[in-house]
């Protein structure tokens, strides 16, 4: 079985184990053959402040590395997860990234409208399960108010794991709120004409919505959105309501003659494979059809390039830290040389002294690394929490193979490099060392 036939998990596990092998073999050999723990304890207790400083320096360095790696993956995963419900999006041509940010992540943006022809070419397509118009531009407090249809609301609910509840717009003033909207079922509110944070927004006093239902948590900015019938949005902006006058219907089918346009359409194909055909079919000079996942992949690829740069910087930092460790250990070896000399005078072999100093180095490095991993995860969790609060995208910090590989490689290299101060530690002139 070749390397490429192994699963990613096995590859990671083997790499981590290989990286750690100098540590495992070294520690096992040292503990088994030399049993230096008491002497290690004596050396460590000998200079507590030095060791605490050393361990903290190491912990901070490892924590930053672990936090950067973990956070980067958490952001990638969170943003991809948030884009989950959006299979294929149609908007007016422009920057796909701008449109992605506006539609998927609800970032305020001025979006030209797609006309009735565009909408009906999609909505009436045989391979389309539903085509949900999405109308942005209004808000309430910090929540964007989005006009849409029931199918979209139920689609979001199913994505959030609620397969049973039927979400309905029974009245034009019904609102379904996201899980993080600070309103309750039964509350009334009037939206403002303007996006979230717009100081010039004017309240639509003529329209009072009633919260009818609340969606479960999706882990996306849509948790802060208020979904309302698109007819109400059109109506309050003095546009046709999508239906002939006198018809009080909510949702499709819309009347092409009274369809005023929509900034975006979410397309749900009846078969997964049909999405590709639909995108090819609809993408053109008047309409931009894109997969959010594909745009996100481009963004992540860009971020990945930056990550490479960060990764190189991180490794350079680690090399500097390793050099610092070596230097510190070399200094420390001089500080403890008299004690090592005494051990030699009491019968310790040179090999024992090397094993002792190496084990001692690895004990303090391991302590620093373990604390660093713990702090790094904590830092990442803190950042994730802050980012989730700021963006409403559920960003979950977790330790993964990348962090473990980073830490194990760091430990492996340190274990090999620590052989140098261990070798240097054997006093060449014991008489002088002991000041005899």
């Amino acid at each position: 079985m070749g390397w490429h036939n192994l699963s990613a998990q096995w590859q990671d596990a083997i790499l981590i184990l290989m990286s750690l092998s100098p540590v495992i073999i070294g520690l096992a050999g040292s503990l088994l053959f030399y049993k230096p723990i008491l002497a290690v304890r004596a050396l460590i207790l000998g200079h507590p402040k030095f060791h605490v400083g050393f361990v903290l320096m190491l912990a901070v360095s490892v924590a930053i590395g672990v936090a950067v790696l973990s956070q980067e993956r958490a952001i990638r995963s969170g943003t991809a997860q948030a884009a989950g419900p959006f299979d294929l999006i149609l908007t007016a041509p422009g920057s796909a990234i701008d449109r992605l940010l506006a539609v998927v992540y609800l970032q305020p943006s001025d979006m030209p409208l797609l006309d009735a022809a565009a909408y009906f070419s999609v909505a009436d397509h045989a391979r389309v399960d539903f085509a949900a118009p999405l109308a942005f531009g209004d808000s309430y407090a910090n929540s964007p108010v989005v006009g849409t249809i029931e199918a979209f609301v139920n689609h979001m609910a199913q994505f959030a794991g609620d397969q049973t509840t039927a979400y309905r717009f029974l009245n034009i003033t019904d609102a379904v709120i996201g899980a993080r909207v600070p309103l309750s079922v039964g509350d009334n509110f009037s939206p403002s004409h303007g996006m979230v944070g717009d100081p010039t927004a004017v309240t639509h006093d003529a329209l009072v919505y009633t919260v009818a239902q609340q969606l479960p948590m999706t882990g996306s900015p849509w948790d802060r959105a208020i979904l309302v019938p698109i007819e109400g949005i059109w109506k309050v902006h003095a546009l046709p309501t999508g239906h002939a006058p006198g018809i009080e219907q909510l949702g499709p089918p819309f009347d092409p003659l009274y369809f005023p346009g929509t900034p975006a359409i979410l397309v749900r194909a009846n078969e997964l494979w049909a999405n590709y055909a639909l995108r090819s079919e609809f993408d053109g000079p008047e309409v931009m059809a894109f997969f959010p996942g594909a745009v996100l992949a481009q963004l992540h690829a860009l971020v990945a390039d930056m990550r490479q740069v960060l990764s190189v910087m991180s490794w350079m930092t680690q090399i500097l830290v390793l050099s610092g460790i070596l230097l510190s250990l070399s200094v420390l070896v001089r500080v403890i040389s008299r004690r090592l000399g005494v051990l030699i005078a009491m019968g310790a072999s040179h090999r024992f002294i090397m094993a002792l100093v190496w084990t001692y180095a690895m004990v303090i490095v391991l302590t620093g690394v373990l604390i660093g991993v713990f702090f790094g995860f904590g830092l990442s969790a803190l950042l994730s929490d802050q980012l989730t609060q700021m963006t409403d995208i559920r960003i979950s910090a977790a330790l993964g193979p990348a962090e473990f590989l980073f830490v194990s490689a760091f430990l492996g290299v340190t274990a090999l490099l620590a052989l140098l101060p261990a070798y240097w530690s054997v006093p060449r002139d014991v008489q002088k060392t002991l000041r005899m």
């Binding site: 049993k35 005494v342 005078a345 019968g347 040179h350």
Partner: protein, 220 residues
């Protein structure tokens, strides 16, 4: 255990002679002192006998072995199993307890220490095993160093100014135990000192001056 040094020369890196001793020996159970002015080479001789320093020329035969021909691991075994060494300033592991300062010997040598003997020796020098070494007085520290030296029943005991920093009481206790141990175990005892209170306890005193033996009792 017999010690025989032949044509022993220790030179400084630049060539100056630290030791130049054509012949020197001590038999099992011998108790002897080495004295001389500062820089005479007393401590250098002791470190050569301890296998901590190799002579430039000559051989140091201890029992059947020539120390100059032993490997580093054989020398370590010699120091661990045959030799007991006391220095003027006791170098101890301050943050460990008195007891652990003895237990640490087990990490250095293949032969474990006799724990009952260790306790008896600590009682003899009135040391509390659980006490932290950092809290010991100068006299107590040297007494602990003495116990550490004797606990493995060495056949050769080398002591470098063992009473230099001690008051009369502690000096008597340390010297008394060294002499008593040497007598009871037929161990070779070599003490470097220039204190008359120490020298007066030895029948054989070898004098070193500028690396050469001036003569003395028991010189072969």
């Amino acid at each position: 255990m017999n010690i025989v040094c032949t044509d022993l020369q220790v030179k400084e890196p630049l060539g100056g002679a630290l030791l130049d001793i054509p012949h020197w020996s001590a038999q099992s159970g011998d108790q002897l002192a080495i004295t001389g002015p500062s820089g005479a080479g007393k401590s250098t001789l002791l470190s050569v006998l301890a296998g901590l320093r190799m002579p430039t020329l000559g051989c140091v035969r201890v029992g059947d072995d020539d120390l100059t021909r032993l490997s580093t691991s054989q020398l370590a075994a010699y120091r661990g199993d045959v030799l007991g060494l006391i220095m003027q300033e006791a170098v101890l592991f301050e943050e460990l307890s008195v007891w652990n300062n003895l237990r640490i010997l087990n990490t250095c040598s293949r032969t474990p220490i006799d724990l009952h003997r260790a306790r008896r020796l600590l009682e003899a020098v009135a040391l509390n095993p659980t006490q932290l070494t950092v809290r010991l007085s100068g006299g107590e520290r040297q007494r602990l160093a003495l116990v550490r030296c004797l606990v493995r029943n060495p056949q050769i005991v080398l002591a470098d100014e063992p009473t230099a920093n001690l008051d009369e009481h502690n000096a008597q206790l340390v010297m008394g135990m060294l002499l008593e141990y040497s007598t009871s175990h037929r161990a070779t005892l070599v003490v470097v000192s220039h204190e008359s209170r120490v020298l007066s306890q030895f029948a054989r005193i070898d004098r070193l001056d500028r690396g050469k033996l001036e003569g003395g009792n028991g010189l072969a």
